[in-house]
């Protein structure tokens, strides 16, 4: 047990300061819009329900990374919740597979208003490598209304942070 506490002390705090994002990027434009709504409607505390609607799982890996000690997204008041009933944001990844269409719509309906849908990753943004087919409905916006898009294949945790928080960190 002593060794465990020793390791914790030796590791120390690794959480990094959030670098200030450059102003002219599309990501930041999305973030600005996001921030305005978050401040107005959610009092600075943001609950996210993540829905994988057909992703290859790469986006999920990078969302998970947001919770590691380097990014520690919870320090900004952002937390991931299990129920859409508790969520302010639906963070949707993947092209929407047709087999997930109904479940995504149910999750959307179950999320209390006001709510915000963020399409995360190239597939969610525009269909990505998979596009529209007999099995895929393509972009999230083809299935439910989307308020913001964070592109990338997958977006890095830093892209995600900027997309979600750039203006919260001002």
């Amino acid at each position: 047990m002593l060794r465990l506490y020793g390791k914790i002390l030796k590791t120390g705090v690794l959480t990094e300061r959030l670098p200030r994002a450059p102003k002219d990027q599309a990501v930041d434009k999305a973030g600005e819009k996001l921030k305005a709504i978050i401040d107005r409607r959610f009092s600075g505390s943001l609950a996210i329900r993540q829905v994988d609607a057909g992703s290859c799982n790469a986006c999920e890996l990078e969302i998970h990374a947001l919770n590691n000690v380097y990014y520690d997204i919870e320090r900004f008041g952002v937390h991931f919740v299990a129920s859409p009933r508790h969520a302010d944001i639906l963070l949707v990844t993947g092209p929407v597979s047709r087999h997930m269409e109904a479940a995504l719509k149910i999750a959307y309906e179950a999320t209390a208003d006001p709510k915000w849908v963020v399409a995360l990753g190239d597939c969610a943004a525009c269909g990505g490598e998979f596009g529209v087919s007999y099995a895929s409905s393509g972009a999230v916006a083809n299935v439910i209304p989307v308020d913001a898009v964070i592109p990338g294949c997958p977006p890095t945790p830093f892209d995600l942070l900027r997309g979600l928080l750039s203006l919260l960190a001002k």
Partner: protein, 529 residues
């Protein structure tokens, strides 16, 4: 490794002794695998013979040839790969099933049934599998006359009429879970039958993230197929891209330079190390041991950052390309990568002594989710799931491909088959990956990291098996006349391993399901395609 041709000849004579004629295909279309053609009425008895002779059933795929549908089944024994092939008429196709002889054939044949419309006559469970409600049972997306766009309904309804297994009796109750789970996880459905806290039965229902990968691969050029393969399962982008490129290169009889093979090996072992770090941390997290989650997560993040700095992508997507790799390792990067393995090994030494001494962790891991070695063998369980239950198979060791035939691959093994064994096999594999990285850096050949693509002969086909971080990945490709893909079939190890979870969770308590599930960590996307 046994010579494939020798194993094939031996199997052919065993079939002949049972009155089954099998014809070798010449020239061998899928080297180094051997191919035998058999008549469709004998298809089931071929599987029976193979099962009696201890061949492992590894996967099956079909192809639409117009008037006929070709079905191929991949078998493996002591590192020799054998592809059995038969043909059935495209009109009302019927074929004896391999599922009565091989558990692993169950879902694989239902996948073919749903996508090609082949009826497997004596299949013990012919329910739909990958098909939900996006297309009906009379249409078959992988037939050539089915357009990739399909004709899906305006809104695809949920698959609410799927006939799940029911358990009845006093105090038996049912727990439906998913497709959307209570975390940042891929979607799928689990149907539990439980008594009190004890799991009486578990049935998996997958196919939710079926994206038509096999269909949308058709018509792509090699570079585009490599990109798609890199997105079959996001955590195995290196593994699937390697398998697809190796299969395409074999179809085109293209040799990649030795340096390219070593660089692929480095990328693959880094992918293995990073995923094992993540799983070790996640297993700790699933039993509430946050210390392990943060420490392993920290080490994983450092390696992801190195990937970004050295190779331009945290997960290494699109770094493996047809003909070689799109990146190189400079002497400076080689030096830093070597230093990084030394640092990681030291960190692991320290962490593992803390974890090993933690009795609460031991209490949750030991004897949870036991997959008995005989069950693992019957299934043909792969990767760390198989190796935690005494199954030694590892493509890198048993059927090595460059660069592994020049490396000393140590295969991690445990035999208890519980969550603890799967934790420790991952840990040992992580250590072995570090040794392999050091070996490859020490022997890194000079030369080119890629060669230009060479157009394959019309209708050329290629087969590859590589050891991804989850285990054996199989891949089959066939080209059209014009350097375009006519058929792409990736087989993620998850497709084999998923049924293991249904068995190993039996008798455990429902609250232990998350850690049991994580200990197997099947890919949904890699399974559903």
């Amino acid at each position: 490794m046994r010579v494939n041709a020798e194993a094939s000849t031996e199997f052919r004579s065993l079939l002949a002794a049972r009155g089954i004629e099998a014809r070798p295909v010449g020239p061998e279309p899928l080297p180094p695998a051997a191919t035998l053609e058999v008549g469709s009425p004998d298809w089931g008895r071929c599987a029976q013979t193979a099962q009696e002779e201890n061949w492992r059933w590894a996967g099956a795929f079909a192809e639409d040839e117009g008037a006929a549908l070709a079905v191929s089944a991949c078998l493996e024994k002591q590192g020799a790969y054998l592809v059995l092939r038969t043909r059935v008429a495209a009109e009302q196709p019927e074929l004896p099933s391999h599922a009565p002889h091989y558990w692993a054939a169950d879902r694989a044949e239902r996948h073919i049934q749903d996508l090609f419309g082949i009826r497997f006559t004596d299949h013990p469970d012919p329910r739909r599998w990958v098909r939900h409600q996006a297309w009906d049972e009379k249409t078959h997306p992988l037939r050539k006359n089915f357009p990739a766009a399909g004709s899906p309904p305006e809104t695809t309804p949920p698959d609410s009429s799927y006939p799940f297994f029911k358990a009845q009796g006093p105090s038996v109750y049912e727990i439906p879970v998913g497709p959307i789970h209570a975390g940042i996880i891929e979607p799928g459905h689990f149907r539990f039958q439980a008594i009190g806290e004890t799991v009486l039965h578990l049935e998996e229902r997958l196919g939710y993230v079926h994206k038509g990968i096999e269909k949308i691969a058709e018509g792509r050029d090699p570079a585009s197929l490599a990109r798609l393969a890199g997105r079959v399962s996001g955590d195995t982008t290196v593994g699937h891209a390697w398998a697809a490129c190796l299969a395409m290169e074999r179809a085109a009889a293209l040799e990649i330079p030795p340096r390219a093979a070593y660089l692929r090996g480095l990328l693959a072992e880094r992918e293995r190390a990073i995923n094992h770090l993540w799983d070790l941390g996640a297993l700790c997290n699933d039993v509430g041991f946050a210390f392990g989650y943060y420490q392993f997560g920290r080490l994983r993040e450092l390696w992801l950052r190195e990937n970004l700095a050295w190779f331009g992508h945290r997960l290494l997507m699109d770094r493996i390309v047809p003909g070689g790799v799109a990146v190189d390792v400079s002497p400076d990067v080689a030096k830093r990568m070597r230093e990084s393995t030394v640092v990681l090994r030291k960190e692991l030494d320290e962490l593992i002594s803390i974890i090993d001494a933690n009795s609460s962790l031991e209490d949750r891991f030991l004897a949870a989710g036991v997959l008995a070695p005989e069950t693992a063998a019957a299934l043909g369980a792969l990767g760390f799931v198989g190796r935690a239950s005494g199954q030694t198979f590892d493509v890198r060791k048993d059927a090595p491909y460059p660069p592994y035939e020049r490396l000393n691959v140590r295969v991690a093994l445990e035999s208890q088959g519980d969550v603890s064994s799967r934790f420790w096999v991952r840990y040992k594999e992580l250590r072995a990956a570090l040794r392999l990285i050091e070996q490859m850096l020490a022997d890194l050949p000079a030369g080119e990291s890629a060669v230009p693509w060479r157009m394959p002969e019309p209708h050329a086909e290629g087969f590859a098996a590589v050891e991804g971080w989850r285990g054996e990945i199989l891949c089959f490709v066939r080209f059209d006349a014009d350097n375009r893909i006519a058929r792409y079939w990736p087989r993620d190890p998850s497709a084999v391993n998923w049924p293991a979870l249904e068995k190993l969770v039996l008798g455990n308590i429902v609250p232990d399901f998350p850690v049991c599930n994580k200990s197997v960590n099947g890919s949904y996307s890699g399974h559903d395609l």
